[in-house]
Symmetry: C2
Subunit: 332 residues, 2 copies
DNA sequence: CTGAAAGCGCTAACAT
DNA sequence: ATGTTAGCGCTTTCAG
């Protein structure tokens, strides 16, 4: 079903059909009507691909993610709600499958889609500096290098992390471990920073054995979580602050597998407040990022960029602590 | 950054570059090496659009949704996890914005993407019969007309709904309302059927005043929810079985706004078990659909179709009741 | 082994 | 008002 089919059936040239479906001047009402009838009859819809190859603008915003997991899909919900009524459509592309291991997926995806398929892009947790700028507006959410280079939207990771650890300190914990995030992400660095700041402020030295890299994903968090909770490794922490909810939930599962009760024997705090954090057993205490709002703001920003409106290069939103049932005073 | 740029810098023709990047025969090792070096240096990545216009296959599976809300994103998580390691990439397209009101979005989106951009499609809650079959494999999740025509994946809506209502009956409820779903979706029809069956089996006549159309969305559910709970409309129900979680959560909000306590004054049951159902206050009792698995199965099915493997046309997965805190015996 | 040329579906100048 | 033509970036015969 191509434009040629329509042209043939309607007895006109493809150019005329193109003009009609794009409301261009220079076509008689009668022909336009006839063409429109054929379009409706055949159910013709112009190919996004062919059109975008020829045109400069497609009216679609790309959302580039490594994979569709709780974090990116929450963002997506916010973006989707915000795009409503703007006339733009959304195209979410996951080009970094295979365990999220393929570094540089965002540059690849951007090259593949930009310039043609999408007018602008929101890229979620890019792992690299977007050195060579593409020709379309790009907003990064939770970027690699933190505020610098491209436009970004993120939340106050340091303060959020400090609040999380302070909550554990207030409960009486002293041996607090940190299961870090992805070393290539600024957010992970800042959360660890907040962890260290909170401990220092409380006059507690950071025990290097209690700080591990969890990688943000359940699979990558498994080994470090076991090491942290293994009695053979040293004195077990009474609490774990994990760098995100997915790894925090995995810590709970590992703990329970090891016969530890949460929160009686071990307190666990996460980060993000994805909906899944409320469904774990016990429900997870976590630092909430305003993910829907972050998505909406990223969309707003990329739209402004598209229209040439001036924008601050960075937007940082506040976090808030959500206390649920995975934290309690330490044993003894 | 196009193939011509690479060709120029490498001092070869575009045809040669194309052969190199696609591992075609007939290129001397030395040229290939030189081209590859330029590709790496320039960070060239072939345009998905241009390539797909010329080729027949793109190795990307399309997921067509009206919007990114809790239901479709849960499916997406399952699809995303299942695509990992298959070599395919995912492109989720939301073409039905503007309140999800634009009927026929799935046909439009399919026409725009099929044949070029995507090799196959999973379409989520299509509102129309996909009469004119496109030339690519399509699997529908929770379709309009129920098992018929295209390949489908869904869950046992009738049994699930019966279980939900039976749970309320077991608690002692007799005046049980139903806030229905989207009339254009088979799932909504079947859930209402289950509701009626359960009441009939218990010897309770269905009160027409207690059955309203909620449309699956918070906005569309608002008015019918208020009518259901308005004392002026008649004797208030002691329980509401909503056709999905989003509208059930909205019922809880409306009830609380009206000064009703959930579950003391009003019990509420939802359907789907999206993660959000656990975060409402109180947490929602609901019928769980295996959404991740449904997404994974839909992907598996569409991949089999792509490879010409024979498949049953319909796959129906079981539901299960998840009892949380939004249900209790009726007042008095 | 390499390049010239055609063509995928469409739009935009430019004729007629 | 309509049609012809070129060309978007790429792959693929087909000559050289």
């Amino acid at each position: 079903m191509t434009i040629s089919d329509v042209a043939r059936v309607a007895g006109v040239s493809v150019a005329t059909v193109s003009k009609v479906v794009n409301n261009r001047y220079g076509v008689s009402p009668s022909t336009a009507e006839r063409v429109l009838a054929v379009v409706a009859e055949l159910g013709y819809e112009s190919s996004l691909v062919a059109r975008s190859l020829r045109r400069q603008s497609t009216n679609v915003i790309g959302v580039l993610v490594a994979e569709f997991e709780p974090y990116s899909t929450e963002l997506l919900k916010g973006i989707s709600a915000a795009v409503d009524g703007t006339g733009y459509e959304l195209l979410a592309y996951s080009g970094g499958s295979d365990g999220g291991a393929k570094a540089g997926w965002e540059r690849r995806s951007l090259s593949r889609l930009a310039g043609t398929l999408i007018d602008a892009a929101i890229v979620v947790t890019p792992t690299m500096v977007m050195s060579e700028p593409v020709d379309i507006p790009v907003v990064a959410v939770d970027p690699h290098t933190g505020p610098e280079g491209t436009h970004t939207v993120d939340s106050d990771n340091t303060t959020g992390a400090r609040d999380a650890v302070q909550h554990l300190l207030d409960l009486g914990h002293r041996r607090i471990a940190h299961l870090g995030g992805r070393t290539d992400l600024e957010s992970a660095r800042l959360r660890e920073l907040g962890y260290r700041q909170a401990l220092e402020a409380a006059g507690i030295a950071v025990d290097p054995h209690l700080v591990r890299i969890g990688g943000y994903r359940p699979e990558t968090a498994d080994t470090p979580a076991r090491e942290l909770l293994d009695p053979a490794t040293g004195v077990r922490p009474t609490a774990v602050f994990a760098a995100n909810d997915q790894s925090a939930i995995h810590v709970i599962e590992v703990a329970q597998e090891l016969g530890l009760r949460v929160p009686e024997d071990l307190s666990v705090v996460g980060f993000d407040n994805v909906p899944e954090s409320a469904t774990s057993t016990p429900p997870l205490t976590t630092v909430a990022q305003p993910l829907h709002r972050m998505g909406a703001e990223a969309l707003r920003m990329v739209l402004d960029l598209l229209e040439g409106a001036p924008r601050e290069q960075h937007l940082r939103l506040p976090t808030s602590l959500v206390v649920r049932a995975s934290t309690a005073p330490p044993p003894d």
